[in-house]
Amino acid sequence: MSHLDIIGENVPRKEALEKVTGAAKYTNDDIRPGLLHVKMTTSTYAHANIVSIDTSKAWKVPGVRAIVTGKQFPFLTGTPLEDRPPIAIDKVRYYGEPVAVVVADYEFQAKKAAELIKVAYEPLPVVNSVSEAIKRTAPLIHENLGRYKRVEEVYPEDNTNIANRTKIRKGDMQKGWMKSEVIVTANVSFPQSDHAAMETRCARAEILPDGRAIIHSASQSPFVIKKVISRYFQIHPGKVIVHTPLVGGAFGGKVSIQLEFIAFLASYAVGGRMVKIVNTREEDFITSPVHIGLDARVKLGCTKSGELIAAEIIYLFDGGAYSDRAAIISRAAAADCTGPYNIENVWCDSLCIYTNHPYATAFRGFGHSELTFAIERAMDLLANKLNMDPLELRLKNAIAPGNTSPTQVPLNVSNIGDLSKCLEKLRGLMNWNEGQRIKIGNNKVKAKGIGCFWKNSNTPTNAGSGAVLTFNPDGSISLSCGVVEIGQGTKTALAQIVAETMKMDINQIHVRMEVNTETNPEHWKTAASRSLFMAGRAVLAAAEDAINQLREVASIVLRCAPEELAVGRGRVFLKSEPNIGISIQEIAYGYTYPNGNSIGGQVIGRGSYILKHLTKLNPETGAGNPGPEWTVGVQAVEVEFDIKNYTYRIIKAASVIDAGKVINMKAAYGQIMGGMCLGLSFASREAFSFSSTGVIQNTQLRTYKIMRLGENPKYIIDFVETPNIEGPYGLRGLGEMGVIGIPAALANSLSLASEVELNQLPLTPELIWKTKKGDQSDLV
């Protein structure tokens, strides 16, 4: 493989061999004698005062070393809003919330003791949905909401269950509705669900005699762990060392900091000894944070010819008992509230609501598959009312350079890409023009639906990344950065960027998979489809730095100016006379003259990057710049639907996405395909089932459904490449994009197939049957 075309090539994952041999180590795979085990006692009520906690029987279990309750460490955590005690203090706010923690020699002892802790509760009225939560008479889940500390931008409303409200006010709504000739309203909803990464969350903690806190965690945010452990336990940040090895899937669920606090408290309770806490699947489903739920209302107005004029949007996110990242999700959904369409007049209120459900955190797409479901259902309703091809309606209104975003960011080719081109490509790939609903006999119809999406990130305005390239004696390079390998393959793509920039063989680039916050430069979080974007820029800068150092030393040896030199194929050489040069191997550790004199020193390239020109959103209008660029795309689903039984098979799913630039084609395909599968699984079958008292009925993988092999469709994936000037080699964020338009596309295809509007998820045959029945009885 020539180094010159390494960008876009299918370079195998750097950690591939470890993963097919069982050698790959995850957080829970580090087996250590003497390690103490931690188990939680969790709440059996969704909302209740804690009257008493009786630990006497638990203490009698042999091997128990400590029992920790919330009262012992009464502090609140969370970003942007500090509202959550790591262990419940006076009351529990969701079913499954940690109430006490046992530390014991063996796991079975800790479990037995945790089971013997008796908690007396005084049940409180349960807030079991967002619609109940926003009623004026609703019980307050957080009585002291107004007094909570705000760590980042967040707007909670005191004496309500509203943890955050983001407002978008663009254009003139009155004019917008006056100009609108056709208006539709869509009400959509879906309950909370879960990330269900195959590796359940796990953390180890140890406090050394000199006060250093060592945390090992299956996390997307090791550097955030470092900050918050430092903040809450008043330890110098340099003394908090966080290790994150390979992570067994995350999907946003490992962004939050939860078990790390519990592990630290448990270690503290046993004098700093190393402890480990591993979620059971049941705990991972409900005790740890979940995928957000949504109730939404979208009202769209357009001209008779289908030109969108006005949008009024309400997003009520079910953030559960604590706000965590859900507050930011509600903001992110506001920022991109209209979907990728040019609408001059926009009014949106996006709220993060407290309920007595598990608390929600980031989920792949960060509010976007959610908002897209609402918008794209409304778009199909509109197309139907206009009697217009749904693809044509989208094409007519597709966001484009010269438009502005809902937060009033002016759009150009670089920051918005080319949605129209994606739509045109998809039209061919899905054979769209053959018709969207075709009877195929035997009570079966074939139907196609689409969904367009866009996504920007909503990182902090100063999110950044760093990279260090350390040279080895043979001239090869070890790449160090703070990105976590969660399965997405970013580190392999980063190695490709180094190889391309240095014009080196990819096999000469070594990547350390584990993150160690003490030795790796900081990377904000492995989230928001921003890892390759930001770390890629840091790596580019580090490579440039290394090239400069190499040229500096080589220029002395070769007796020329550094500017006259180029680097490539393991050499530094004269641009004008490529035969004159020196191998990197000879200067990577400094150059030694024949007489022993030496110059230079080990070449260590360093680079860092910070997102630029981002602003906070104006609290009254939402105006502001939330992120560096949008990725746009369109997705489609084709189903084969049984009109008698309401069952269906997903035949095909397609994605056409403007990737800016694809760095590793196979990896990109894998990300998109996997995202589509996740989206189809979520949209077709995933949801928590709540009892009337907020108790979750399906906390196991046998009752919480996940799509399995054979149920997946045929995938069709293609890319458009409109470079983003800020992204390395022009790339745009990609990791989350496969999910975003899929739920909407599935709902649109099934609505068409079943001839009834399906505005809820998950799209089970029972839901279709029920909706159909409701529809028929409405007609009677």
Binding site: F108, K111, K112, T703, K705, E711, T764, E766, W769
Partner: protein, 280 residues
């Protein structure tokens, strides 16, 4: 992780197993018989069981039999569901039992375990209800033979210390036309909304159900309605459903009302196939 301790015994004869049970029972160990153990392990992890001893019956020769003898098919209790499918001498049984859990789990789940279990579906029992099979049960009073209908009433009715050793089926039943329909909420690997096994014998259709009520069953009243060919199919089905032996199940897989819809459609398909002689 199971947090409580228990003793593990692996007797090699029926008599040893029965005696062990008596002995452990007297010592207050609340012993249970253990075959595949999948349900026991998962329930014990949730503390839904609290035995202090398990008696593994997998080394008892009578429990491992799987053969024809005098025009009868004898299947030992510890034969795994996968083994039944792989050998496939009783296609109706192979098909019905391959609905339980997933393939890998069925490498461990046994026939006896599935039939004796607490799980409400117990799909492997349906073919035996249709075939009027005999069961062999061992216990303190020795070995007893009984019709499955006498012993299986919602659950396998065995007394303390008894366990299922074998199921015996008349060879005449194993090649009858049959249909197995397994309907789920949305995917293959999950508990059923309705599993219906049906055979046709002497122009009469027999049906057995799992997932419809909170227990597997065969109902003669329902069969009588279903076989009453003097009335239209849909009427027969509605009448049959009105004779369900218990309330329709309502759970995370589906509501009772939806189950009724699925049950009706599925019965319609099954009857059309069997009455059209298309049973396979």
């Amino acid at each position: 992780m199971i947090s409580f301790d228990f003793e593990y015994y692996k007797p090699t004869s029926i008599i040893e197993a029965v005696n062990l049970f008596q002995y452990l029972h007297q010592k207050g160990k609340k012993p249970i018989y253990y075959a595949g153990g999948t349900e026991i392990i998962t329930r014990a992890r949730r503390n839904d069981l609290s035995m202090k001893a398990v008696i593994d019956i997998k080394a008892i020769p009578e429990c491992t039999v799987f053969q024809f003898q005098d025009n009868k098919l004898i299947i030992g209790a510890v034969i795994t569901l996968t083994h039944l499918s792989e050998v496939n001498v009783f296609p109706l049984l192979s098909r019905t039992s391959s609905g339980a859990a997933d393939h890998t789990a069925r490498n461990k789940i046994t026939l006896g375990g599935n039939i004796s279990g607490r799980i409400i579906y117990r799909e492997a029992v349906l073919p035996f209800l249709l075939s009027n099979s005999q069961v062999v049960i061992a216990g303190p009073k020795g070995i007893k033979y009984a019709s499955i209908h006498q012993v299986f009433k919602k659950t396998l009715q065995v007394e303390a210390g008894e366990f299922l050793v074998q199921v015996i089926t008349d060879k005449n039943y194993i090649n009858l036309p049959y249909v197995v329909a397994r309907k789920t909420k949305i995917q293959k690997v999950e508990y059923p909304l309705a599993t219906i096994a049906a055979i046709k014998r002497k122009e009469q259709i027999r049906t057995a159900f799992s997932g419809v009520c909170s227990f597997p069953f065969r109902s003669l009243e329902m069969e009588k309605e279903l076989n009453d060919r003097s009335v239209p199919l849909r009427v027969r089905i509605d009448r049959a459903i009105s004779h369900l032996p218990g309330p329709l199940l309502s759970n995370v897989e589906g509501t009772a009302e939806y189950r009724k819809f699925v049950l009706g459609n599925t019965l319609e398909d099954i009857l059309e196939i069997l009455e059209g002689e298309r049973g396979c």
